[in-house]
């Protein structure tokens, strides 16, 4: 029996213009329009950024214009519908996976409750199956017989401006983390459906600035930050000096050096922004200690690839820069730093787009002799694989007591975990650089890891609330190990994580630091000839 006063209370406070509008949907999901208001969408791309990208060879970012998601009129090109449907047809023909993903979903619901956006918002359109349905309904309508004959009864609907707006809302409430795909019995990669939605939106000039500006910066100066070569070099030099001040060991690093054995590429955030800086200091210390013959590049000065978040052409182009530079410098192979989506591009797309990198050699560690056959085609080794191999062969001396200020847990960054299977190497490293560390609950780590909530270019401050919602499942698991074990540090192997988890912790679990695994390696590393100060906070110590 209903409680009368409660019903009144519900009416006065629960009903209202909100996404959370009460228990029982009164309309079919197809009929619920999206509402854009400050805080629930990322800002649209600036005209000049879209124009710049469109002017570049092999790139296609047409229909640049002033528009705003908040306005009714998005000033779409007149033939926007033809553009979208033609774009969809083109992609269905080009990507066999898309055609299969459109056809084979049986709507079993296994993915439905696995998405961090769904878990944080309760919005049914954030169930991965529903997000895919936003595209699938159009596919059915225009590309399947059942949809053409039976329309809505077969789950089909016509492409309208309302649908397009829905695509924009929900393809930017997905971080392409692929947790849902782990649970799909058919192996549907829902992230690729989001990727297609974003590609199609770019055809009509609909994109967000936080992605297109870093992407255009990357195309222009080589990195997301738009740092010019001399600035990039200066920053790395500063970090090398910091390492020297702390450890007494001079760092001998180089830039753009032809004939080096290894090209090292990491996200530019590592050389520019806290707390990634300390991770970069860890790389510098480690490479110095083992005497690695390597070079940084001011051209391939970015591991991240925001092209992945826009369309396949831009992804290919930005990925190509790393390999073009490796070829120009004549290195044998590439070591990649702690980046997330760089590894997804390298492991899942690079070979088809730019590979195989025959001009490079299958990576072989000159220190241990280990051949990294797992990277036989891409010729690119993850820093954690490389470091774990060094530890395994006793090539570096580590003193875990130097990390005694750290009580850590480990966040499996989505892309290294799910897109390349890097699960055990970081853990092996942590076992050797820390006296002890703890795991978060089983259904929140390894393949089932929860996203930071701000990946795929969603780490922009205007959607901070949305990010906090999406990051709730991750933060919730971190809170558990803080309460239970007194954890004070969340380690990870991704630059976006290092930035976004910092904000996430600042809201959900203040006092919990975020660090890269290589920072912890740098802290624990006993270097030859060191004259180390008392570093109570490791590489973060101010001296």
């Amino acid at each position: 029996m209903a409680v009368a006063k409660l019903e009144q209370l519900s009416k006065s406070v629960v009903q209202g213009p909100s996404l959370a509008t009460g228990a029982i949907p009164t309309q079919d999901w197809m009929d619920v329009p999206v509402v854009f208001k400050p805080g629930n969408f990322a800002y649209q791309a600036k005209v000049e950024k879209v124009e710049y990208l469109n002017s570049q060879k092999d790139l296609n970012f047409p229909n640049a214009r002033e528009w705003s998601p908040e306005n009714d009129d998005w000033k779409l090109p007149e033939d926007w519908k033809e553009i979208i449907l033609h774009g969809l047809k083109e992609r269905l023909d080009k990507f066999r996976s898309l055609k299969i993903f459109m056809d084979c979903c049986v709507r079993c619901g296994a993915c439905a409750d696995k998405c961090h956006f769904f878990l944080g918002t309760g919005d049914p359109k954030n169930m991965p199956v529903m997000r895919a349905e936003l595209l699938r309904s159009i596919y059915r309508n225009d590309f399947t017989l059942a949809g053409k004959l039976m329309g809505k009864m077969a789950g089909a609907r016509e492409m309208t401006v309302g649908v397009l707006k829905e695509w924009f809302m929900y393809s930017y409430q997905c971080t392409e983390c692929r947790r849902c795909s782990v649970f799909c019995p058919y192996g549907i990669d829902t992230a690729e459906v989001t990727m297609m939605l974003r590609e199609l939106l770019h055809l009509v000039g609909v994109g967000i600035n936080w992605i297109l500006e870093p992407a255009s910066n990357s195309n222009r100066t080589g990195n997301h930050m738009g740092l010019q070569p001399h600035t990039f070099k200066d920053n790395v030099d500063f970090l090398a000096e910091d390492v020297e001040n702390l450890t007494g060991v001079k760092i001998n690093h180089s830039f753009n050096r032809k004939g080096a054995e290894v090209l090292f590429i990491t996200p530019s955030a590592d050389v520019f922004a806290e707390p990634g800086l300390y991770t970069a200091m860890g790389y510098l210390a480690l490479f110095e200690e083992i005497g690695l013959d390597y070079t940084w590049s001011t051209y391939a000065s970015e591991g991240g690839n925001f092209g992945l978040f826009t369309n396949n052409e831009l992804m290919k182009k930005l990925n190509g820069k790393m390999y073009a530079e490796a070829k120009r410098l004549g290195v044998k192979y590439i070591i990649g730093g702690e980046c997330g989506h760089m590894w997804r591009v390298v492991h899942q797309y690079m070979d088809t787009m730019n590979g195989p990198a025959d001009f490079l050699e299958v990576p072989k560690s000159s220190i241990t002799g280990t051949v990294f056959n797992n990277a036989a085609s891409t010729k690119m080794v993850h820093i954690s694989e490389f470091t774990a191999d060094l530890i395994r062969h006793n090539k570096i001396k580590l003193d875990p007591s130097r990390n005694s200020h750290v009580k850590a847990t480990f966040h499996d960054s989505c892309n290294p975990a799910r897109a390349m299977g890097l699960l055990d190497e970081p853990r092996y490293i942590l076992d050797h650089v820390l006296d002890n560390w703890v795991e978060m609950p089983e259904n929140t780590i390894r393949e089932q890891t929860f996203c930071c909530g701000s990946g795929t270019g969603l780490n922009t401050d205007e959607i901070m609330e949305l990010r906090m919602r999406a990051g709730l499942p991750r933060a919730n698991a971190v809170k558990h190990v803080i309460d239970k074990y007194g954890v004070n540090t969340l380690s990870c192997v991704c630059a976006i994580d290092r930035a976004t988890l910092t904000s996430l912790m600042n809201y959900w679990n203040p006092g919990c630091d975020v660090c890269g695994v290589s920072e912890l390696v740098g802290n624990a590393l006993v270097m030859k000839g060191e004259n180390r100060q008392e570093l109570t906070e490791g590489l973060r110590t101010l001296v």
Partner: protein, 192 residues
């Protein structure tokens, strides 16, 4: 205290006994009410694993803890920890302030309704003043927490901008201070 027999042979309870007796029922209804403020309420209500269902799990845990405090006449300061567990979540979701705080009220009505419905407890309704006053205090504390969380959210946003923990766009990149001509970077790049 326990159950007493009255002249009419009807078993009646004392208030603290009723709070214990109906604990699960009241909490279930209370949690259900709070979770129905979400569109996908059935999942939030049914999945019991706190890590697979952070909203539902934390709401249930927080309300269970809070129920104990409210019914045992605890110091209002003790309401804060369980309230924070749920308000921290609701403060960043798509609720208006009244919607975010609203469900805390609900326990008043739920408890009253359950006690009224049963012969054994009907007489206790008039004794609910202290309990309902505690709920009022909890609601006020919830509003304070809501505001604190909102302020913290904005602080996080400001901190992110100021510390440049992730600066990617023109407007905020300090390296822009170096730029005198927007075209300069292209020229520099071509020289490498």
């Amino acid at each position: 205290m326990g159950i007493h027999l009255t002249e009419g042979k009807v078993q009646v309870m004392e208030l603290d006994e009723a709070f214990r007796w109906y604990r699960e029922k009241i909490i279930d209804k209370w949690v259900g009410y709070a979770l129905e403020t979400y569109e996908s309420s059935s999942f939030f209500k049914n999945e019991k694993d706190k890590f697979a269902n952070p909203v539902g799990g934390n709401t249930r845990e927080a309300f269970s803890r809070l129920y104990t405090k409210l019914t045992l006449g605890a110091d209002p300061g003790e309401f804060v920890a369980p309230l924070e567990q749920v308000m921290r979540i609701r403060a960043i979701q798509a609720f208006r302030p009244s919607q975010a705080v609203g469900p805390i009220h609900a326990i008043k009505h739920i408890t009253r309704e359950i006690l009224e419905k049963n012969k054994e407890t009907r007489h206790l309704v008039v004794q609910l003043y202290d309990f309902e006053f505690a709920v009022d205090l909890a609601v006020l504390a919830a509003f304070d927490l809501y505001m604190q969380c909102r302020e913290q959210l904005y602080q996080v946003r400001i901190k992110e901008i100021k510390t440049g923990s992730f600066i990617l766009t023109d407007s905020r990149c300090p390296s822009n201070l170096l730029k005198t001509d927007a075209l300069e970077p292209i020229t520099v790049l071509q020289d490498i």
